[in-house]
Amino acid sequence: MSHPYKKLPPKAFWRKSISSLQTEQVDPVGCFGLQIEKETKVATAGSCFAQHIARHLQSSGFNYYVAEEAHPLLPAAVQKEFNYGTFSARYGNLYTSRQLLQLFKRAFSMFKPCEQVWLHSDGSFRDPFRPNIQPGGFISEEELYFEQQQHLRFVKEMFMNLDVFVFTLGLTECWKDKRDGAVFPLCPGVEGGEFDEAKFEFYNQTVTDVIDDLNEFNILLLDVNPNAKIILTVSPVPLMATAEQETHVLCATTYSKSVLRVAADTVSKKNSNIHYFPSYEIITGNYNRGSYYADDLRNVVEEGVSHVMRLFLKHATTLDLNHHEICSKGEVEIDIEDGAIKAARELVEVECDEELLDR
């Protein structure tokens, strides 16, 4: 007797592709229709998990595209602390599809939010759209304004020049400005600003919201960069907390991730330039018996990230894995000794010596 399941490949069967395999052998990636080459400019954004992808791409020798680079004066440790290179521009975590869409619109002067600055209790000024982008915030509104404008210029440049944009969807829950719909990565009042019920409200995005945001973003991106490709992933990191009334954080996590997963699937099926990569399944799949989570059952351990990246490099890139070792630490100390610094150092030394000879 014949039936449709007879013709299906092993990956379509749980026993053949999951329960009979060792954890590290499981490969849920189906046919992946995009190949990243060494020269492909890959930009990243999204929630915390996207940072792992960025880090691995960087250390694997790919053309990880950082449009907003740190000034060479900044040593590696300071660059990291100030979130240079964490993503392709200094936007910090973009948890929701709405944040991504609004970032694009802000960069291309299509949206100017009412909320421009948050004053922190420590006296510093915070960018409402990236309140934790640097330790201690900004020293003045002017500094924030100029740095923000500079940042948005780099974001614009990034969207116009990237080849592949990897975006990790993190959350559906957000805090929204009632006046213009601007959404923030953090609730106003947590890291600066003041929570005012008349101005801000909690909003939990629906699947339609996320699909609409992603479709609109894709149209806008293709408008400025017609060959751009998008890889969507869903962050496997559960919600830290939910603001949804009377809802358990586990249920809120399931809702959020389900919405994001369905939206990612929907837009990737509809748009030929959008591809879904199943890092969410690799980490959350019960085949690994929770071993890819740290003790807090929230953060992902390096072993899990390596599994994701091994499959990412195998299916989404032209990299020869037999001749490549994934390195998780890709920090390189930069040489800050610019000609100007050399000249100044020599001058200062000469002047100091002359002061001494004169004594």
Binding site: I341, A344, E355
Partner: protein, 237 residues
């Protein structure tokens, strides 16, 4: 017996030494100024090694004072000459004019560069351990506003690339100095050392070193500045 004051540091203590030689302070507390001994390219500069200074300073009484001027010169190295990738920065006290060519570097990041560098220097904490009396660290003099003056003073050097055009904008240089001084002040607090700002009368409204306190070079202040600093130190007794 009055309070003994031992001053120890780098080339910036020269202005204090000249001020002492210049005036009669005999009725005041005794001040001794020594310079860190450094061996470089077969030449020795300075007149007291760090080890000998620590020995000397450890013998002082609790009501005596040790004033050091060791850190705080990084702003000249990083900021005097315009970088090949020009940058500028804001400070709390002064804003900058938008310059499309220059990258805006966060003030906090610049401060952190200095902090990272200064944290590697173990001299101050070792001095703190060796000294029982009050310990102060002097700010370095603020930058000179006049780029023309600086370029004139440095034109004598061979292969000179410090010209009016290659110097950083005065306000950028000032804000770099501010970032370094703020970093130093915060670290001094951690080390248990009191940070001493430049005397207010030596600074212009904008925050630069007043012209009458310029030494004839790019980076140092003169003996008149030294006088003001010594008066300020005496005021700390």
């Amino acid at each position: 017996m009055g309070t003994k004051i031992l001053i120890f540091g780098d080339s910036h203590t020269k202005s204090l030494k000249l001020a002492l030689e210049d005036d009669n302070y005999c009725d005041e507390s005794p001040i001794e100024i020594r310079w860190i001994k450094v061996e470089k390219k077969g030449k020795t500069t300075g007149n007291l090694s760090l080890e000998d200074f620590q020995k000397k300073a450890s013998q002082l009484n609790s009501n005596d004072m040790v004033v050091i001027s060791i850190l705080g010169t990084g702003h000249n190295i990083l900021g005097l000459v315009r970088h090949s990738m020009p940058y500028t920065l804001f400070s709390r006290q002064s804003q900058i004019l938008p310059d499309n060519e220059a990258l805006v570097l966060p003030y906090a990041a610049m401060k952190q560069i200095f902090k990272e560098q200064m944290k590697k220097n173990k001299t101050i904490s070792s001095i703190r351990k060796a000294v029982k009396c009050r310990l102060y660290h002097l700010a370095t003099p603020p930058p000179k506003e006049c780029n023309g003056f600086i370029a004139d003073q440095t034109s004598k050097y061979r292969n000179n690339i410090v010209t009016e055009q290659t110097l950083n904008a005065p306000l950028t240089r000032l804000n770099i100095w501010r970032a370094e001084m703020e970093a130093l002040e915060e670290l001094c607090e951690e080390w248990g050392v009191t940070f001493v700002n430049p005397p207010t009368e030596t600074i212009t409204d904008k925050g630069f070193l007043r012209q009458e306190f310029y030494n004839k070079d790019a980076t140092h202040a003169n003996h008149l500045y030294g006088h003001r600093v010594i008066s300020k130190i005496r005021g700390l007794r």
